[in-house]
Structure formats: C-alpha cells, structure tokens
Amino acid sequence: MRYGKYRFIAGFLAVPLALYIVFVVSPYAQAFYISMTDWRGFSGQQNFIGFGNYIELATDGRFWRAMGHNGLLLLVVPLVTIVFALFLAAVTTVAGRQGAVGRGGVRGSRFYQVVFFFPQVVPVVIAGVLFGFFFNPDAGLLNGLLRVLGLGWLTRPWLGDPALALPSVMAVLIWGAVGFYYVLFSSAMKSVPPDVFEAAVLDGAGRLRTFWSITLPMIWDSVQVSYIYLGIMVLDGFALLQVMLPVPGGGPDGSTAVVSQYLYESAFINGRFGYASAIGVALCLVTLLLAVAVLRLTRRQQTEY
C-alpha cells in the first residue's frame, strides 16, 4: 500500500504548485523588492534605492488624500452595512418568535432572503455601469424619481458634485453588501440555542434588551468577521469606482480617488512600477492592520460569553 506513495504525491502536486509559485507566490515576493527600486517604464533599468519610494509616499499628498477616502469608506460602509443587516435579521427572527419556540422567521422570509442576496452575485462592473447611469443627472432613475415626487429642487448631478460623489459610491457599496450579511446574521441567530431566548423572555427581558444582551453577544464572532471582510472590500473598491466614475484622477476633482486607483495609475499609466509596488505594500499593511485592529478592539465584548 505504501508503494509509490511519494511518487503519487509529487505527481499530484507538481503542476498546481508550479502554477501557484509562478503566478501567485513569485509576484507577491517580487513586489517587496520592486518597491525598493526606482524602476520606471518598460525598458528602464532598476536601481535599488532602499526606502526611497516609501519616503516619497509619506509626503505624497495624492496618496494620503486617496488613503483618506479609503478611511472614510472604511468607517462608514461596514458600520452602516452591519447595522442595517443586523436590524433586518433581528427584526425577522424576533417577529418569528411569537409562536411557542418557533424562530423560523416571518412569513415570506425565504423570499426576502432570495431578493436581498441577489446584489451579492451581480458582477461589480455591471453594478458600476448601472449605478453610474442611475445617478445620471438627466436620465438617471434617482433624479427622475425626485421629479415625479415633486421634489425637483433636490435633484443633483450626484456623481459630478465633489461633495456627493463619495457618499453616492458608499450607497452603492452598502446596497450590494447588506443582503449577504443579512443572510449571514440570520443564520447565525438561528443557530443560537432557543432556551437562551426563552430564559431571557421568562426573566422579563424586552425585545431591545434581548437583542442587546443575548443576540448580539451570541453572534459577535460573525459581526467581527463581517467587519474585516467589509473592510477588505472597501480597501479595494477599484472595479466599482473605475467603472462608475470613469474620470481620470478618480471622480470630480479627485474626490473619489482611492489607493487602488492611484496604484493602477502610477503603474500602468505613469509607468512608475517601483513606486506603485510601494503603494501595494502600504495597502497590504493597512489591510493586515485593519484585521488585527478589529480583532483587538472588539475582543472585550466577546469574552462576556
């Protein structure tokens, strides 16, 4: 039975590993080295310049402005998404609680799940084109609706106004994400043992109290993970922004430029490959910091249970 085991293992691993090393591992490894060179253009030579790119990055106004937009997205989008999703999920499970123990959800909850979840599978580019036109000042659905409702004075060139472009993008990101986290939180709430809820009800806990002291702590793990996932999503945001606001420099007056767009522009438009790689390393660091920070900052509440 042992005969030929290692030959079999090697045979099965060779091709996938080779593919993985060439196209995934080696680019990641090279990125760190390239970020320390002044490599420009396709034929240009590379000189090792140590942390030169990082020093330039530290004082690059455009980079920090883009990082600021990412920071705003990071503050608003996950928070609003999670609150909406928790609210919808709690309301569905709580309303389903009226029967003896049945927390099977309200009538039609299956239908809602199917509808809510759909944006999750809509390709980002499609959502980008769709909402780029949704916010169109003349033919867009939003301004059209406002006019129909007699609120014509509220119509705006949503994506053309530097103050409104980023909030509009946030709305689209939230639109796409709520359904997934609604489904996630609903199933987490359903897996909480029913006797915990019964005990709380017998002790006279109201709905709000039950949610705050029982439901939320019991599903805290899912909430934490969701924050990290949403954070990673908005740290990228490239496809949606690039398609929704196809303006060089990132939206009106650069008001929606994010780090990933600046990286893409630095590399493939300005040909500053070393510098772009340094931006990539910075982005990667921020992602890791985010994950660590979320897990650290939210740990205390988790230990209650």
Partner: protein, 306 residues
C-alpha cells in the same frame, strides 16, 4: 445558564397572583403588539426588497427602450419593446465577442482549477508527508493578501512568458488565483469523507490515482459543485486581472468590454445597447443564482464564519 435556572422558580407564583381579567388584557395587548411589530417588520423588509429590486428591474426595462425614451422618461415602461437593442449589443457593440471570450476563459479556468485544486486538496487531506503544513499554509495565506500587491510583478511575469493578451495566459492566471480558495475548501471537504472505501479499493489493487479519480472525486461531488459555483461567479466578476493582462480589444472579456462601452458613451452614445449588454452579461449569473441559490447562500455564509 444562570438565567435559565432562576426563571422557572420566580414566574409561577407571580402569575397566580394575577386576576384572570388582567391576564387576558395583557395577553391581548401582547398579541396586538406582535401584530404591529409584524407590520413594521414586513414594512422594513419590503422597503429593502424594493430598494434592491428597483435598480435591477429598471435596468432590464431600459434595455428595451429607445435612446430618446431613456432620456425623456426614465420611469415609464417602454412604448414598444425594442428587441433590436439586444441584436445591436451582441453584434455592433461586440458584446457577443466579449461574451464568448468570457465563456471560454471562465469555463476552462473553472474546470482546470477544480481539477488541480482537488488534486492538491486530496493529497493535503489524506497523506502525511514532509512539507504538508507549509504547502497548506502557503495556499491559505494566498487568500488573505490583496491582489493589488502582486499586480505589477504579475504583469511582467505574464509578459515575460509571452502570454500577455492571450486566452491561455489569462486562464492560467485565473486558475492560479482561484487555487487558494479551492484548495482550502476542498481540503476540508476531503477530510470529512470516510476512508474505508478508499482503503478497500487499495486492497483490491487500485492505484493511488485510481482511488482519487474513481472513488474520492465522485464522492466529493457536492463540494465540487459548491466550490465550482463560487469560482464561476468570482471569475465571471473579475475585472482587474483582465484589465491588466488583456490589452487587446478583440480578446476583451465581458466585464472589460462593458466598462469600455460605458466609458465611451460620452462620444457615441448607444445607451439602449449598453443596457441590453448589461442584461446579457447578467443572464448567466442570474441562471446560476436561480438554480443554486440555496447552496450559494449556505456555502457563502458558512465560508465566511469559518
């Protein structure tokens, strides 16, 4: 659990002190409370459902309108259903070409990544050998790093291999970047399969690879289908990689083609064809979602919790 044990002791005497009439009142109040809550619940759920559905329905309706209708009356139904938009999108706007390109690249990639990914996962799940942990964690780590970090070197790796702007280049890159997810989930899946069948087959003289292809792979079908669906949706969605690796407009995949089409609308606008293109691009995703939606929801939420 302290909550649970103290509760039964205190409630019965409390209830016995109440007069029946008041009890009925309370009960009645609770019922109306439930009812108003239910109305609110359905209200919130319905509002969100409308917010989700309206932009999508509007996109489908827009795809059937004429250009002038799109601009004059965004809210009305199309006066006449313009099926010609779809023909124009498919031919003049090259959506047909992009669609076929996407289909080729994505389907070959999914088949390839499922085959290679299960091979790796099977070996990692079922065999002890030096370096197993390192390989497993190398794949897991690949799920956490942002693709942007690899973007610049990846471009030159593909260029140096002479694969820039080719189907097979993009297919290999898609496959490589879908491997971590596939390996991670299939390893978990292969671990749950019973080993008795495999051992019996080995005793009957079946080779290692024979066991894999004839016994374990068919057993793993539910897992293969779930992971395959996610890979299909993920790769169909992919925009960044083709943007960098497919500079040749004849080989554009659908997401690229739509983005370019949308960006060019300022110069020569054919909005109705663009929306028809969106609907065409959405159809495969919609079909997969409708057929597999329960599995997708379960799989994705389990995946996110783990």
């Amino acid at each position: 659990m302290t909550l649970g044990t103290s509760a039964p002791a205190t409630t019965p005497p409390d209830r016995s002190q109440r007069r029946p009439r008041r009890h009925d009142d309370a009960h009645h109040k609770a019922l109306t409370g439930e009812r108003t809550l239910n109305v609110f619940t359905h209200g919130f759920l319905a509002v969100w459902a409308i917010l989700v559905a309206v932009p999508l329905i509007w996109a489908v309706l827009t795809a059937f309108k004429t250009d002038s209708e799109i601009f004059s009356s965004p809210w009305s139904l199309p006066a006449q259903w313009q099926f010609g938009n779809f023909v124009r999108a498919w031919t003049t706007a090259s959506i047909g070409t992009y669609f076929v390109n996407s289909l080729i690249v994505v389907s070959v990639s999914v088949v390839l990544v499922m085959l290679l990914g299960s091979m790796v996962a099977y070996v990692l799940a079922r065999y002890e050998f030096p370096g197993r942990g390192v390989i497993y964690y190398a794949f897991v780590a690949g799920m956490t790093f942002p693709i942007f970090l690899a973007l610049v070197p990846l471009f030159f790796v593909v260029q140096n291999l002479g694969m820039l702007g080719t189907y097979h280049g993009l297919i290999l890159v898609y496959t490589a970047y879908a491997l971590p997810f596939t390996v991670f989930f299939m390893t978990g899946f292969f671990r749950t399969l019973p080993s008795a069948l495999a051992e019996a087959a080995m005793l009957d003289g079946c080779s290692h690879s024979g066991v894999f292809f004839r016994i374990m792979l068919p057993l793993a079908r539910p897992g293969l289908i779930s992971v395959g669906i996610f890979n299909f949706l993920g790769l169909w969605n992919q925009y960044l990689l083709p943007l960098v690796l497919m500079p040749d407009s004849d080989h554009y995949v659908l997401s690229q083609g739509l983005a370019v089409l949308a960006a060019n609308q300022g110069y020569r606008s054919d909005w109705s064809a663009l929306f028809a293109g969106l609907v065409i691009a959405l159809l495969p995703v919609l079909a997969v979602y409708v057929v597999f939606q329960r599995r997708i929801q379960e799989g994705l939420s389990v995946g996110a919790i783990k």
